[in-house]
């Protein structure tokens, strides 16, 4: 333990040096900014920053890049809440209750709780890195294809319930997502499927065009269709800060979201997209007012936002301790290490202690800076909603287009975005929820890959899926989830006093 404090002291002496502190501030500032802009995600920004940081000192360069990565998670919720447009893929779930809160004039509390939730989760996540990074990374690689299949099934069961509306419609939407995920080269043999002979579809449908179209474009279309008074919100802004009751509702959600996000972030493929979904469905599952979810409950914002922040911390663990990138954004971070002639991996901590501890401690500082940066902005963002929609929507469309294009510099992605915009519009007209589609789309690819890898390894024997203890555990949990509503039926009293929340 004494060692730990010595290391932390050493780390802070590096990360609090003026130059590195400035780098940290720049990183989180840029991160928040691009998080706010839909589509322009951390992956694209970090790769743009890479050549700029090359002239800097390695520690400062990595601090700045990491700052962009976790800073984006703060900004990502802003447009989700204000415009129903996820600024970041990881903020899709935040639209569900965040946007409803904004429409009730509660954008301020929603944004503020996001900043606080992100801060708490981010800090807890970094604490997790500090205390148990090496052990967790070793455990993460032990999780093989069959275990992942079981975990994915469990995740999916957890989230299928969150849409709140009609179950068959949510299932249909998810099915469409699964189907969309089969477009492109199959994940094992690389045989092209449903690509109509085009290169663009050979890699499958892009995530950015899908999400931006489905949420952003369709929202603009729906709003334009309404009467000439097209404000997102008309009426008085009811307070900028969360009330005591808001805090009581959000605090446990933030705690649970942090834990879910951190551990899911370590797993390969989960990235920062899946954890918020899980957190949301978890909150809804254990909530005493599940029927209110989707109408603007604050814990539906706090939990997922906490989850995506601690997930960024979690996904840094495999990188720092094994040199493994569990997501695209972390892959760019790997490139940042390599361009500076530093190899991330098991030897990083002994060969470059200044970089390791400097970067880890800079994440504490960065999270604090982000809170200071984001809280004063809450008022400004909330007032953005009073801008007449006729000025707002062309700007939204512009940013949507930039977002869809900038991911792989391919104009066809903008067309795809428009197509998904129409699809999203029709789905909303007919009351089909969009979130299950997005989640099934993300999980679908990974699910197919892992099922097929499992079966190749086991020579086609399905026993492999229950042969591993962790997988078995996940299956049992899934079964309980499926069955327990039947046991609980009738027992649930409709109203609980809020004081009973722990």
């Amino acid at each position: 333990m004494g060692d730990l404090f010595a290391n932390l002291y050493f780390g802070f002496s590096v990360s609090l040096a003026p130059y590195n502190l400035l780098a940290c501030f720049m990183g989180v500032f840029v991160g928040t900014a691009i998080g706010v802009l839909p589509g322009l995600g951390p992956v694209a920004t970090m790769s743009l920053l890479l050549p700029i940081t090359i002239k800097m000192e390695p520690t400062a360069a990595i601090i700045i890049m990491a700052g962009v990565f976790y800073g984006a998670m703060y900004g990502g919720s802003t447009t989700s809440i204000l415009l129903n447009l996820p600024g970041e893929a990881s903020s899709v779930v935040t639209t569900l209750d965040g946007y409803q809160m904004a429409r009730q004039g509660r954008a301020g509390p929603a944004l503020a709780i996001c900043a606080w939730g992100s801060f708490i989760a981010g800090t807890l996540g970094v604490l997790g890195i500090t205390l148990m990074a090496p052990a967790l990374a070793e455990m993460a690689v032990k999780i093989g294809p069959p275990e992942l299949v079981a975990l994915l099934c469990l995740s999916f069961l957890l989230v299928i319930q969150f849409s709140g509306g009609s179950r068959p419609r949510a299932a249909a939407s998810a099915l469409l997502g699964f189907l969309l995920s089969t477009v492109g080269l199959d994940p094992v043999e690389s045989t092209p499927r449903y690509d109509f002979g085009t290169f663009t579809l050979m890699d499958g449908v892009g995530f950015a065009p899908l999400v931006i179209g489905l949420f952003g474009i369709s929202e603009v279309l729906i709003n334009l269709e309404k009467s000439e008074k097209m404000e997102v919100f008309k009426g008085r802004i009811k307070g900028l800060w969360p009330t005591r009751q808001d805090w009581r509702d959000s605090a446990p959600a933030i705690g649970r979201g942090s834990i879910v996000g951190f551990f899911m972030g370590i797993l390969p493929g989960m990235g920062t997209i899946v954890p918020p979904f899980l957190s949301y469905s978890l909150e809804r599952r254990i909530s005493k007012r599940p029927e209110k979810f989707g109408t603007g409950v604050i814990e539906g914002v706090a939990g997922p936002e906490a989850a995506n922040n601690s997930a960024t911390a979690g996904s840094m663990i495999p990188l720092l301790t094994l040199g493994i990138a569990p997501s695209a954004a972390v892959a760019v971070l790997t490139a940042a290490f390599l361009t500076h002639g530093v190899q991330p991996g098991p030897l990083l901590i002994t060969e470059h202690p200044a970089i390791f501890w400097g970067v880890v401690t800079s994440m504490y500082t960065g999270n604090a800076l982000l809170l200071l940066l984001n809280l004063p902005l809450v008022g400004m963002w909330a007032r953005l909603l009073t801008v007449p929609y006729r000025y707002l929507w062309p700007l939204i469309l512009l940013f949507c287009g930039i977002g869809a294009y900038s991911v792989s510099n391919n104009p066809v992605d903008v067309l795809l975005m428009a197509v998904f915009g129409l699809l999203g519009y029709m789905m909303r007209k007919m009351n089909y929820p969009g979130a299950p589609l997005v989640l099934a789309f993300v999980l679908g690819r990974l699910f197919e890959e892992k099922v097929r890898q499992s079966l190749v390894i086991s020579r086609g024997s399905y026993e492999t899926f229950i042969a591993h203890p962790l997988a078995l555990l996940a299956w049992i949990a899934s079964a309980i989830l499926l069955l327990y509503p039947f046991f609980l039926r009738g027992k649930r009293t409709p109203h609980f006093p809020a004081e009973e929340e722990e």
Binding site: F199, T200, A328
Partner: protein, 322 residues
């Protein structure tokens, strides 16, 4: 009307701009775009980003890096093939889509569709396994497979990649059987070996190095012409009489067919000078690449050789072109 004539002048100037810039005398008069066929962070992206500052200086003009990932590199290759051969659109990537890719599937580009500027960074396929396995080296592994035909699994960096072809060829040459499990890239394949989900893995050597140095994985063989000075204990396939299974993996620069020779020479000279820069060499080595400058003609020969090897392997293993 002065305003109108001013406007006309502007239009004329606009029209003349590209005409003038095509003259190689004042090339480059605006930033040159380097098209990268990998997403940021991929192997072909890391190499060019490492050399970018030095290359820009030696070239004497701005170089803009643009990632156009997708379809195993096919999007970028096609984009550059169709680009104007004026020296302002250059392909900066790894050789594999051109050499291995065109052997494996029908693609709208071929070896002869490009001018070769040069190669600068050479990667290798590495075969790795965990240290607690029954075998200690490649011979031990192959002997174990012989005793247990069809029982072992190996991870690959993907079905259409050189590491898979190489490993399949090694097994075919020795008449052995093991089952490939395809992962998405060298990183996941390496992790599968590390986590014990497969018995051994074949993938890009650069991705393996951090874990090899810390002893969490053991290197059994690499495909390069010579041993890596950082890992003198890992033999090459050539030493083991399996040189026929080696497919080169290298980073280079290409231009659309018909690009003026003066432009190619200027880029080639800048690349040569950059590849001789000790700071650049050190960084590329750290990232897992061997640095050697090969000129345009040499790179073209390498590409042809890799393409032929891929086709021979496909025939021997029984992989059909898709």
């Amino acid at each position: 009307m002065p305003r109108r004539s001013l406007f006309l002048l502007f239009v004329v100037a606009l029209v003349c701009l590209p005409l003038q810039s095509a003259h190689s005398a004042n090339y480059p008069s605006y930033p040159v775009q380097f098209i990268i066929s990998f997403p940021p962070g991929g192997p072909g992206d890391t190499t060019i980003r490492i050399i970018h500052p030095a290359l820009q200086k030696n070239f004497g003009g701005a170089i803009q890096l643009v990632n156009k990932p997708g379809a195993g590199g096919a999007i970028a290759y096609t984009y550059v093939k169709k680009a104007k051969p004026d020296g302002y659109t250059i392909l900066s990537t790894m050789s594999a889509p051109l050499t291995v890719g065109t052997a494996l599937r029908t693609l709208p580009f071929a070896l002869d569709d490009y001018e070769y500027i040069g190669a600068y960074a050479f990667g290798a396929t590495g075969v790795v396994s965990k240290p607690d396995k029954r075998w200690k080296d490649l011979d031990g592994l192959l002997a174990y497979i012989k005793k247990n035909p069809g029982k072992l699994n190996y991870g690959t960096s993907g079905a259409p990649t050189a590491p898979y072809l190489t490993m399949a060829a090694v097994l075919a040459i020795r008449g052995l059987k093991a089952t490939p499990v395809h992962y998405k890239g060298s990183g996941p394949a390496r992790n599968a070996a590390l986590g014990g989900h497969v018995d051994f893995s074949a993938g890009g050597f650069g991705a393996m190095q951090a874990l090899l140095r810390s002893g969490k994985l053991v290197g059994l063989a690499i495909t390069d012409n010579a041993r890596d000075p950082k890992f003198p204990d890992i033999p090459t396939l050539k030493e083991k009489g399996l040189g026929r299974a080696s497919i080169g993996l290298w980073a280079g620069l290409w231009a659309p067919k018909g690009t003026p020779k003066a432009v190619l020479d200027k880029l080639s000279a800048a690349l040569k000078k950059t590849a001789g820069d000790p700071a650049v060499v050190k960084k590329l080595n750290k990232a897992g690449f061997r640095v050697e400058f090969v000129d345009g003609a040499g790179a073209k020969k390498l590409a042809r050789q890799d393409h032929e090897t891929s086709r021979e392997i496909m025939k021997a293993v029984g992989i059909k072109k898709k």
